[in-house]
Symmetry: C2
Subunit: 547 residues, 2 copies
């Protein structure tokens, strides 16, 4: 058999080589030639794969390129159990989003390269590019926010007033640290409100949505750190940070959740050239945490209130606290002046939700990965969020304008302010997977398994299962002419199917079938109640409605 295949492939390879030669003679377009070369390579690989296992050593050598069976670095398959958890998470979150009037849109998985360029600062080097196969230069999306802003810039006139969510995969060519749960392909789950509104109303609804979603996901206690870019920028101005050093100093401050003040101060002074007394002044502010009490304290700080940026930020925060009180979420919030967030594009409030629970990351087959923690700290992290974070976001009023072009005055043609949140669903999956055994997860929804006793009764089982399907009951049976009774029971139990319909020749002749509740472990293979065949659907419906 292998020899036949080898002969056919060898002929195909020769023909393909001839074709490519001819194309080159005819000066065919390079992309056409490349395509045919790809076909040739495929054929050669097939041949390699066969030769690799050949007992003939000489041929074996030629097969050294036979490939390893795996997914690309930093990616993984998600099996049925994992998908069951994922679907539960998505549907829980989507329900909350829809309760708040959100719609969804879909954008391509890749964008023109230039759309993504200049949006992610130093992280631009993590963008995946598509190969230039003749045509446009494209890259896989890095997040869902930039494609959303691009969509708004293209269609914004129809979407001046827009609540949208988007749950999809994004791509980052990071050094994958699987043991940290960091992947190159992972889901993001974004909710954003676009439009020009009165201050802080949409912002407070986003925070309400975040609290509802995290509560409904059942991942335990959480709190939301809250800050305002304008207060932070005001503090930097007051303390004497030069304007072009504000963002670098801001990202140093953002490390305060992981590093002690001394390290952050060192970064500010030694790496970023800030005078020590300036750093100390910043330190006095950014160590402050609290609730509305902190806001009231800052409102009495004349240096802050006299700074235009800080004053605006404080006014926003006061309004926000009023609205959060109405929405009943103030107790979840922690006003934290050390929160700075990495991304450059935020212009107003910023926030990050943290959870007390950690999660052991799992491999593709659901096994727990052993983690090495450094200095006893929990180092699990995701690309979007810091240590312990489960969601993050903020207001970004200028991103859409970056895509809309500028008018003669240098102002954007279209300005659509936005506020949004991104929930770190990969971390949520990890937490929920860690909470249960894989074998206990029911990944199918099958309600009834049709079992025959004695004879195979294939056609009779098919008749019954067909009747169940036609009555919208989720049902399965074994694809064997004469399945063994044991195997049928096992299949039913393995898939956690709650009911079995059991048929035997004698009972069928009397127009009867048996229904057994598989969750009652008492009578292993016996038991159940006998009902008339005509009452089967009615009886099952009544029992299923009680589940």
């Amino acid at each position: 058999m292998a020899d036949d295949q080898r002969t056919t492939l060898t002929q195909q390879i020769q023909a393909q080589e001839q074709k490519i030669k001819q194309l080159k003679v005819n000066n065919a377009d390079a992309t056409v030639v490349d395509g045919e070369v790809a076909v040739l390579k495929g054929l050669k690989q097939q041949l390699d794969a066969i030769n690799a296992n050949s007992p003939d050593k000489k041929k074996k050598k030629a097969g050294k390129n036979a490939f390893v069976l795996k997914t690309p670095k930093g990616t993984k398959d998600h099996n049925d159990k994992e998908m069951a958890i994922r679907e539960k998470v998505f549907s829980t979150i989507t329900k909350v989003f829809k309760k708040h009037g959100a719609v969804t849109i879909d954008t391509p998985v890749f964008e023109l390269k230039e759309i993504l360029s200049g949006k992610y600062g130093e992280d631009s080097k993590l963008i995946y590019d598509l190969k230039d196969q003749g045509g446009e230069e494209c890259s896989l999306r890095y997040d869902l926010t930039v494609p959303f802003a691009r969509f708004l810039a293209m269609n914004g006139k129809e979407y001046q007033n827009f609540k949208r969510y988007h749950i999809a995969k994004v791509y980052r060519r990071d050094q994958p640290a699987m043991t940290k749960g960091r992947l190159r392909e992972f889901y993001q789950c974004d909710f954003d409100i676009a439009g020009t509104y009165d201050p802080m109303i949409a912002d407070s609804e986003i925070l309400k949505i975040l609290c509802e979603a995290l509560t409904d996901l059942g991942i335990g206690q959480f709190s939301v750190k809250l800050n305002h870019r304008k207060i932070l920028d005001g503090i930097f101005e007051i303390c004497g940070v030069p304007e072009d050093n504000i963002r670098p100093i801001s990202s140093a401050v953002d490390k305060l959740d992981k590093s002690p003040w001394e390290d952050v101060k060192k970064e500010m002074t030694e790496e970023k050239g800030l005078p020590e007394e300036v750093a100390d002044k910043i330190g006095e502010y950014v160590m402050l945490k609290g609730g509305r009490d902190l806001l009231e304290k800052l409102q009495k700080d004349e240096k802050l209130t006299q700074n235009a940026s800080a004053s605006q930020g404080l006014a926003d925060m006061a309004l926000l606290y009023d609205y959060m009180d109405i929405f009943g979420i103030t107790d979840k919030m922690s006003f934290d002046l050390s929160l700075a967030r990495g991304l450059d594009y935020y212009t107003g409030i910023i926030y990050e939700a943290v959870t007390a629970l950690s999660a052991a990351p799992t491999t593709a087959d659901g096994k727990k990965v052993e983690r090495k923690t450094k200095k006893g700290t929990d180092e699990l992290d995701e690309s979007t969020v810091g240590v312990g974070s489960i969601a993050a976001g903020g207001r970004y009023d200028n991103l859409v304008g970056m895509f809309s072009g500028v008018n003669k005055k240098g102002e954007p043609n279209l300005k659509i302010p936005c506020v949004g949140v991104s929930i770190g669903v990969e971390r949520v999956f990890s937490i929920l997977m860690a909470q249960q055994k894989a074998t206990e997860i029911k990944s199918n929804e099958t309600e009834v398994f049709v079992i025959s006793v004695g004879d195979g009764l294939l056609k009779e089982r098919m008749q019954i299962v067909n009747q169940l399907w036609d009555n919208n009951i989720k049902a399965s049976f074994m694809f064997k002419n004469k399945p063994k009774l044991d195997k049928q029971w096992n299949a039913c139990e393995k898939d956690h199917i709650p009911f079995a319909v059991i048929i035997g020749r004698d009972e069928l002749d009397k127009g009867e079938i048996r229904i057994k509740d598989m969750r009652s472990k008492d009578a292993a293979q016996g038991g159940g109640i006998t009902v008339q065949y005509a009452d089967m659907v009615k009886e099952l419906r009544s029992r299923l409605s009680e589940l």
Copy 2:
């Protein structure tokens, strides 16, 4: 403002150039340098974008590279209305799949290039490759079948008995014919049953699932063309086609749904070197269509029954007809000997569902695209299926084995037979979108809009909407301190929200609110019934349950 940005960007560009220079001096790794160059390019593009709109002509010239705002060629955004239809389609299909016990898995959007190589014959040239940025060579998935087979080869021992569906995007670097509805990124929707079972049982359930899904989708009349690769191969053998010409002749036969016999015969004889009498003999068989009557006719054909391959195929078909009778789907089937299907990997029954309806493709904004049809034929097509097709599939018993490696005898290490179907959901979307006006599609699920009359009553509206959310009622309000009444009505109508809760100062003081059914057009902005605030949730729940 533009000048400030320009100065900052110029400084950043200089700094970045310096950084790259230094990296090169230090012999840094090429991928590191490439990353920093990508950052530099981004900064330069931002500068270009600003200069492009500068009134200063000299600067304008530098901005000639400013980008066009669009999605990549062959891709499109899907707006909220389109997504509402898509979600309906996905949930309808998923419900059918789950009724039949299916689970879902997820695989990465890209695979190692060598996994895809040699699987798609000449179409391999349509595979999208990722750029080699240091590391593995990867390609975007071309379909969902090969990743499924790769998954089974990796995890098959746990999945000997597996019904899985997968709804996800695939990628083909085809010449996009948007007017034909053909895209480079499109959804596939696959259902497959893997495992070693008794003959034709799983095959018949796949056909049952296909009929249920197409019926539930509400796309009108359809029929399913049915054939068997072994019967077809037997016919070719009997007629005298040399073995290495069977697949090429088979793909000529597959064109009979689009081309007259004379053209197909010409391809067989002139292009593929078949003697005319052989082609004529084939013609006698492949023009045959029918039902079980055709099967019975073929069962009496001694030439066929004496051919091992055809005889096996006929036995399969006989069993299949028995099972289809039980499942009540025989009337949808058309046994059609001209159906050959393009893909090489089919080994048993093959099928293709066709619908009477055609659909006008739409652009991203929901407008209908004007189509040019050639010779009066409907040329709408999708990459997976032929003209008029809406679903297709077949049995492929050897694909998993291609990934599992071969033993010393040249046989695959792991053999998992599969049968599956792929529903052409892009075409289903087109048909359903064409059936209704975009403005009439409700893309949100909001049930109640809270409106104030007279004063703005922002905090009161927020209190009410919060109470509705806490009671799981989907509610919205306008993000304005003092919204105009007209604008609130318009928002409510535009989003097709069925109920309004209307509040005014006087009524609130009396503890009352008004509930209005927005679908009753009689009393434009008045009307509705007054209820006690305490009864609001109860009253709304009762009305919503009647929707």
